[in-house]
């Protein structure tokens, strides 16, 4: 890759590098970390700011303009994971942040390094994942001259970040990094970026960064207006078919406990969005699993018939609502969100409650005097679960069904196992047929739908997870091939992850849509050749497995999970298997199709 030509003499001579400032020979030991080393350069201040905020890990790729920052990282205790590609760095940082519930940090050089991060930044932005991206930039006096490896990173990432910063002063560069981290984590989380010109990071400064504070202009509102709470509480008391809709915001606000208690206390059935998976245990009697395009039939029936939909930390995305005209058509809508701009953006909120999910649920709980009478409604929800069960057939004359593999893996692992995925059919099976009970165990790309998220996501999740927690990546062959190079990182870092590639030798979701909506013209979705992923995994230095038959599944899954290090199972599944139920885009949730003929 061109940016590896980081020793381009033009850049090196332009930059005012101060490489003599610190010793070059020793390996850092815990005693000689930057805790004791004085700040000498802008880059030192950047790293100090990260340390001050308690950052434990960063994911990135080296390159010319970011070299001073990496040089300062050399003396830090922060664990740096060198990724194979900057997109992988962004996804790994994203997943690390999701699992830790704090902003993940990724780093890249200027130009191609920064543009390669962009997909991951956009992904974090769509999923409201806190993240800080640090990008190198050409020296500030060369900015705007189309210098080697120059990109207008601020311009490119402005629409994809909560805010981005161009560091132009070595004395305040550390403060800026602290502010960017604080902003990424504040209120509704999201990515921020600091662009670091090489002359600023290598310039002299001795200034210690101040503790990171979010900017004064962005302070969110944490508790909802009391009058609005009372009116909403009244509506809940009077509802006969209330339904809670937990989005990813419930998990991000760390409101899982409060949300669970609220649903149980007031006996209100729960559906989640896909990012909200894990906010409420899917094996709970009140849980109808997740709603939307490929959600369960019963969740979609409940949304269609509820008279009061209580959305918490959700943005009523089109994959959830399908056609707006038929979305929860009989329901008044309560919308609890910390971002005022989400209120009535997609669906009109009859009861808007701006605030933090946990705080507002506590306020509501305190204001509700009589729990709504929901026995009949709960019974109806149970009936829908019986009428529209999530189930699949396994005819003997057809190849291995992917849903079975997901279920076997679920059964073979503990409840706190983290599942990451790419995007496509495998993602739907992984979310439909795995029973999630804990928050932050489902780590995926939702809003942006980024194929290739799974493997780098598993790397980030592995580093964030507890040692005794399993990390599993359920991937598709198409998604896996998009970021497969990150397997080298998993091997190098000896990360214990298990990748199950549900391999149908298709870009399966596209193929399913082509069959349903394009008269079966499988343009650019069908492979005439696909690598053997088990062999490929071995070439990377990982352990490779292959499954073709039902009777191999349990044993192979056990062996792959038991392997201490990265393992890949190439699961040859029924290429004709499709994802159902399905609400066609723009359709009515309650009219989900169970077969292609019903679309």
């Amino acid at each position: 890759m061109s940016k590896q030509a980081s020793t381009n003499p033009d850049i090196e001579t332009e930059a005012d590098t101060d490489t003599d400032a610190q010793p070059q020979t020793q390996t850092p030991s815990p005693e000689t970390t930057s805790d004791v080393l004085p700040i000498e350069t802008g880059a030192d201040a950047v790293i100090r700011a990260l340390e001050n905020e308690g950052i434990e890990a960063a994911f990135g790729v080296q390159g010319g303009a970011i070299m001073p920052v990496y040089d300062a990282l050399y003396y830090s205790d922060i664990r740096h994971v060198t990724m194979a590609h900057e997109q992988g760095a962004a996804h790994a940082a994203d997943a690390f942040g999701v699992v830790k519930n704090e902003p993940g940090v990724c780093m890249a050089t200027s130009g191609p390094g920064a543009t390669n991060l962009v997909t991951g930044i956009a992904d974090a932005n769509m999923d409201s994942d806190g993240m800080l991206a640090l990008t190198g930039q050409v020296p500030s006096d060369m900015v705007g001259s189309d210098a080697f490896q120059e990109t207008d990173t601020i311009g490119v990432t402005a629409p994809l970040t909560k805010h981005n910063y161009f560091a132009d002063d070595p004395d305040t560069i550390g403060d800026t990094v602290g502010e960017a981290l604080a902003l990424a984590d504040e209120g509704r989380p999201g990515p921020t970026l600091v662009d670091l010109p090489k002359n600023i990071t290598s310039a002299d400064t001795e200034r210690e960064p101040t503790p990171g504070e979010p900017p004064a202009t962005t302070r969110p509102q944490y508790s909802a207006d009391e009058d609005a709470v009372l009116t909403t509480a009244n509506a809940i008391e009077e509802a006969s078919q209330p339904l809670l809709l937990f989005g990813g915001g419930v998990i991000k606000a760390d409101a899982t406990e409060e949300a669970r208690a609220f649903a149980r206390e007031h006996e209100i059935p729960v559906v989640t969005t896909m990012p909200g998976i894990g906010s409420f245990p899917e094996d709970d009697d009140l849980c109808l699993s997740w709603a939307g395009m490929h959600g369960t039939g019963y969740a979609n029936m409940a949304i269609t018939h509820t008279d009061l939909l209580i959305g918490v930390g959700t943005r009523f995305d089109d994959r959830l609502t399908s056609g707006i005209d038929t979305f929860a058509p009989e329901a008044e809508i309560v919308h609890i969100d910390i971002d005022p701009a989400e209120i009535s953006k997609n669906v009109h909120a009859d009861y808007p409650l701006i605030g933090d999910a946990e705080t507002v649920l506590e306020q509501l709980d305190g204001a509700i005097e009589t729990t709504p009478e929901t026995a009949e409604w709960c019974e109806q929800c149970v009936e829908w679960q019986e009428t529209y069960p999530m189930d699949y057939a396994m005819p003997e004359d057809e190849p291995l069904k992917p849903q079975f593999i997901v279920e076997v893996m679920d059964e073979a692992t503990a409840a706190d196992t983290i599942v990451t995925s790419g995007v496509g059919q495998h993602q739907m099976w992984a979310s439909q047929y795995w029973t999630y009970t804990e928050p932050r165990t489902w780590v995926s790309s939702h809003g942006l739908g980024t194929m290739g998220y799974g493997l780098p996501g598993a790397i980030g999740a592995r580093i964030a997870a507890d040692d005794d927690q399993d990390v599993v990546c359920i991937d598709g062959d198409g998604s896996f091939l998009m970021t497969i190079q990150e397997l080298s990182v998993a091997v190098r870092e000896n990360l214990d992850i298990t990748v199950a590639v549900l391999n149908n030798e298709y870009i399966g979701m596209v193929r399913q849509w082509q069959d349903a909506f394009f008269e079966g013209r499988r343009m650019a979705a069908e492979y005439n050749w696909c690598p053997e992923f088990d062999t490929l995994a071995e070439a990377f230095g990982a352990e490779g497995f292959r499954i073709d038959e039902y009777d191999e599944v349990a044993e192979t899954v056990e062996a792959a999970l038991a392997y201490d290090g990265p393992s890949v199972i190439d699961c040859h599944i029924d290429p004709a298997e499709n994802v159902y139920p399905m609400v066609p885009s723009g359709g009515a949730n309650g009219k989900f199709a169970l077969t292609e003929e019903q679309l």
């Binding site: 601020i154 058509p329 953006k345 019986e386 057939a393």
Partner: protein, 257 residues
């Protein structure tokens, strides 16, 4: 989730440490994980089941394209209207591109946007005129408010002072007539030569439009309009939370959120 309430007979996999489902809702007793041959029955034992989409009960309610539940008794549709928004912003580089980028990527209809410094160092005021539906006007305000450099934003009342400056260049062969019309509209002649006369006019949209009509007879060669700039009347704050002040006692944007 009912899919988990089935006993897996592929018993090798019964090593789960996960709590088994206590869901009693699933009454089907068919077992998954057992690739049993299909039965002779037309109804498959396994797979997704249930009524066909059109055979399910469906509520008759609807929402309009703005996501508002259609109440048959009330007209809930919103038509676009003109709104003047004022935003107090930090004067950092790129603030205009951030604001303009937001307006364009969210497809808001904007008529004009002006920006200028205030008496407070580092603060500028952006005034924009938009033509949007009520929910979208709210959206614009809220989205703008999310931008880090935006300190506060609000919509101006109808009685706010709104004015625009226009430079008009017309043919110069009838200077007396041009001068007369310039007087009528309280304009000012900025430049004149044998070929052209350039006039400056200020006022609201109606006045400017009417003046342009009046000057049309001479042949308008070029025109440049600034777009609206506006301030609230009296001691009403232009932006909510902003306290009107003087040069000595600068305005203080209160945190409105």
């Amino acid at each position: 989730m009912s899919s988990e309430s089935n006993t897996d007979t592929n018993a090798d996999t019964e090593t789960s440490t996960e709590a088994e489902s206590t869901d009693t809702s699933a009454t089907e007793t068919v077992e998954r994980g057992n690739p049993a041959p299909d039965t002779d029955s037309d109804l498959p034992e396994h797979g997704l089941k249930g009524a066909e989409p059109d055979d399910r009960p469906h509520p008759s309610g609807r929402r309009n394209e703005q996501g508002i539940r259609v109440d048959p008794a009330v007209e809930s549709r919103h038509d676009p209207r003109r709104a003047v928004l004022s935003a107090l912003v930090e004067d950092d580089p790129g603030v205009l591109s951030r604001v303009a980028g937001l307006i364009s990527r969210r497809q808001f209809n904007i008529e004009s946007l002006t920006v200028g410094q205030t008496t407070i160092e580092g603060h500028s005021r952006i005034t924009m005129v938009v033509e949007e539906t009520e929910p979208n006007i709210d959206q614009i305000e809220r989205q703008l408010d999310k931008l880090k450099p935006v300190i506060a934003v609000g919509e101006l009342a109808d009685d706010a002072i709104q004015t625009e400056l226009v430079l008009l260049k017309v043919r110069g062969n009838e200077p007396d007539k041009v001068n007369a019309i310039t007087q009528m509209y309280d304009g000012e002649t900025m430049d004149a030569d044998p070929q052209t006369i350039t006039i400056q006019l200020t006022g609201d949209e109606q006045k400017i439009d009417s003046a342009i009509d009046a000057f049309e007879q001479f042949g308008i060669i070029e025109i440049a309009r600034t777009g609206y700039t506006a301030l609230a009347r009296g001691d009403t704050a232009t932006v909510p939370g902003e306290k009107p002040g003087t040069a000595n006692e600068p305005t203080k944007p209160a945190n409105t959120r």
